[in-house]
Symmetry: D2
Subunit: 269 residues, 4 copies
């Protein structure tokens, strides 16, 4: 059946014949393999154009910043999945990626939209006023302000400061970085809480200023975390801890449902 | 419950405190962000050590080579998934990754194991004899020889030649590249078929020679394709073709089950 | 690190010791296996109580109604994934489930929330007024009215009428069924379009009236489609069509990116 | 591109037109919704025919038996995923399903193949001899004997005994049940270990005897666990424990990589 409007029938990313693969109009084997770094290739794939040195540098920095942070929930889900289904590494990677959602890792895109909202509200006028207005609208709609606060890095997220400094060094810091820091400064008076800019706020700030598309922002933590997941899944094959983590997690939870008189759960819960 | 042996209780990839995140023993924000390329960081994550320039160059080349090849099944599955569930980009990426399996994209790892089997069989002796023996054993077990043949690039996969040339240029080509080309040369007489080395054969050959771990090989196409998927999912948001592909796919299939007399399926099948 | 509030530390679904598994307080092997149907067990798992005969009948009907509708996008994604990765049936099922999203199959939950909004707006007063108000609010926010309209079953979705009739027969049809039909009647004047109640609107209407929890509604199409996916994946192993669909889908799309002069894409695009 | 052989171009599961949906040749809305139980519909979808009362009873029993067993790794992965990505229930279900692999839940299919191997080896002759031969071959190939042993239910899995008794009551117990119990009896002398038949061994034994197809066996735990996952994900929305489990899991693991002198990890690891 025909679902949805079907106005488009083409793609501009890649085509091929027996001898040649074109990616974004370029001969992959001849012109890209061995010439571009993977980060440059990612920018080319997403935008259709090669990055400048500054754009490449900022994208590299964001990918490095968000690739790894230890045994976070998505890494745990991935390692548990490999322990249970070692025949399919791709399934374990997919399980990890599915945990890059709105709460834990996917807030880069939400923060990017928030900054874009502030930029649109400001027009040519004061960022303070625009930020105050947009933060107010979010709070009225009971939406969290994305990109601020971190459960561990409470006073400052070291990755955020580094990314902003780097964007300045690279000469790309602009309107979105300014919005990100303005909001950070205003948040205590607007919300009564000190919430520092976190890595998921810094990433869209520097990438939007560098010209990376808003609708692909979520791809940056997804790609970066895939690299971290591969490292964890290699370690899981060599020194498995998936079932150890599972056992500890189960022991942390009590059963509070009904039970027959005298029923004793096994120690492990 | 305690599942499996639980001998290990530690991880060596990352730890942190409020001020600092360590990745492979290094201060992430201070020493890695803005210093390493994403490819160097991926090597560090997986192996625990920084790559040499040659290692970095070979890993970059393999990631660029395998990131994108048009509307292949995994890309289609990913775009169909985003069309149906636009609220979760991570789900669409995961669906694409799940199609990196033993048949289509995951054969890098199988080819790496095959090359390692030949290397082990050879010991210090003739690669021809070892290759003949291992190919024979695979055929007796009715297993395909992984890493050879391509449905489109029949006479030669342009990415394979480029990767091998680059590994030679970079000075890392060694035993596994020699095995890969030896097998390619012997296959017509051993199997009666001309099957050229494909990209999934070239990737493990050059990466094993560069010192990348066998058990992480499958992570290379998984990471690379994630970059391609992000590009396709941006395009799917801007110029959607998921439902167009779905409609065409459904029309290609007839219904041959039972039906009441006179039943007319809708044109679209 | 501690993410989020951590107020709860218990679960009421299942516990066990070496001799006995309790599910919702009952001895699984002794009292449930061989006694309950799977549908009754699903109700017990979700709600903690056994269903009445009417509740069981309505839940069975919704699961049967939504389990299968041919080669829809999620089935295609699942069959493509199995073709590419036959080693992991669970990955193919997961890929199919990921396509049960807000656009194609997941609208049961959205429709349930919409009906609940109308019920809340009505209080004890007129459903017409409440429906008019809530539909207006959705349209002002540019949100689609979930549960109405179908790309193939344009004048009526045969499953919807059957489910409503069955809920009446079973004696459970109540407020939510009334809202569903009231909205269907009002939509032409409110939106200028004739949109018939579809299966994803009928399912929450009858299930909410039967007492099934709103926050588990999306589980009904997910569970039902898993049954359909298993059937398709058995057929895919016996009479594979995944790559045939993939080929047809790729041929339906043109490449409109840049290309060197004289470049001829292979026929298959 | 054309991948693989493309000999088949049809499907026999479902077709439709504007007024009617056919499933396995029957009018879904008129003849199946409200008439069949979900379990009967699942059998019809998979096999193309309606089940007998005995077949339905056995299939119901297996689905009930395997649907739920507390906070096992796949349930944990699913709840962690919902905690991190609450916008996509389907992603959390998919993450749980990805953990139904060869080690934890997917061994039903492996056990079914093992029983089929023994049946084939026996021909009309002694099951003891055939079982001895096939167990020997598995052990020589260093493959585990699937369907025996359980980390918690060490002396007996209560679900296995119940399923076998039920198959006998229903009159379907036959060759595969006989093989399952014969192997259980022989294992101590063949392997030196007492390993009781577990639920993943009992399920294929009774289902193969009931006529359920071998290649769809893995679909039974996948479908059943989806029901359990839906219950857990409802509870996770109402009384979240995902991040509590994640915190406990992380605390169970030490960091044993390099660190600068004096570095103190945060308490939570």
């Amino acid at each position: 059946m025909k679902i949805g409007r079907q106005a488009h029938h083409s793609s501009a990313i890649s085509t091929s014949n027996e001898a040649t693969i074109l990616v974004r109009g370029r001969d992959l084997a001849r012109d890209l393999v061995g010439t571009l770094s993977f980060t440059e290739h990612f920018w080319l794939l997403v935008t259709g154009a090669l990055p400048s040195a500054a754009q490449r540098r900022v994208l590299d920095a964001t990918l490095v910043a968000i690739a790894e942070h230890g045994l976070v929930p998505s890494v745990q889900a991935s390692r548990l999945t490999l322990a249970a289904a070692p025949e399919a590494l791709q399934g374990a990677v997919a399980a990890g990626i599915l945990g890059c959602g709105s709460v834990v890792l996917g807030s880069s895109e939400a923060a990017g939209r928030f900054f874009a909202d502030v930029a649109a509200a400001a027009g040519g006028a004061s960022l303070e006023a625009a930020a105050t207005q947009v933060v107010g609208a979010y709070r009225e709609a009971q939406r969290a302000i994305p990109g601020y606060g971190h459960p561990l890095h409470k006073s400052a997220d070291p990755r955020a400061a580094r990314l902003l400094a780097l964007a300045t060094e690279a000469g790309v810091a602009g309107r979105h970085v300014e919005i990100a820091t303005t909001v950070e400064r205003l948040l205590p008076q607007l919300t009564g809480r000190e919430l520092a800019l976190n890595v998921s706020g810094a990433i869209p700030a520097v990438l939007l200023d560098a010209g990376f598309p808003l609708l692909a922002l979520k791809g940056v933590p997804l790609l970066a975390r895939t690299a971290g997941l591969v490292a964890h899944l290699l370690e899981e094959q060599q020194r498995p801890i998936g079932f150890v983590m599972s056992h500890a997690a189960a022991r942390a939870i009590d059963y509070d449902g009904a039970a027959p008189p005298g029923f004793e759960p096994s120690e492990e819960g």
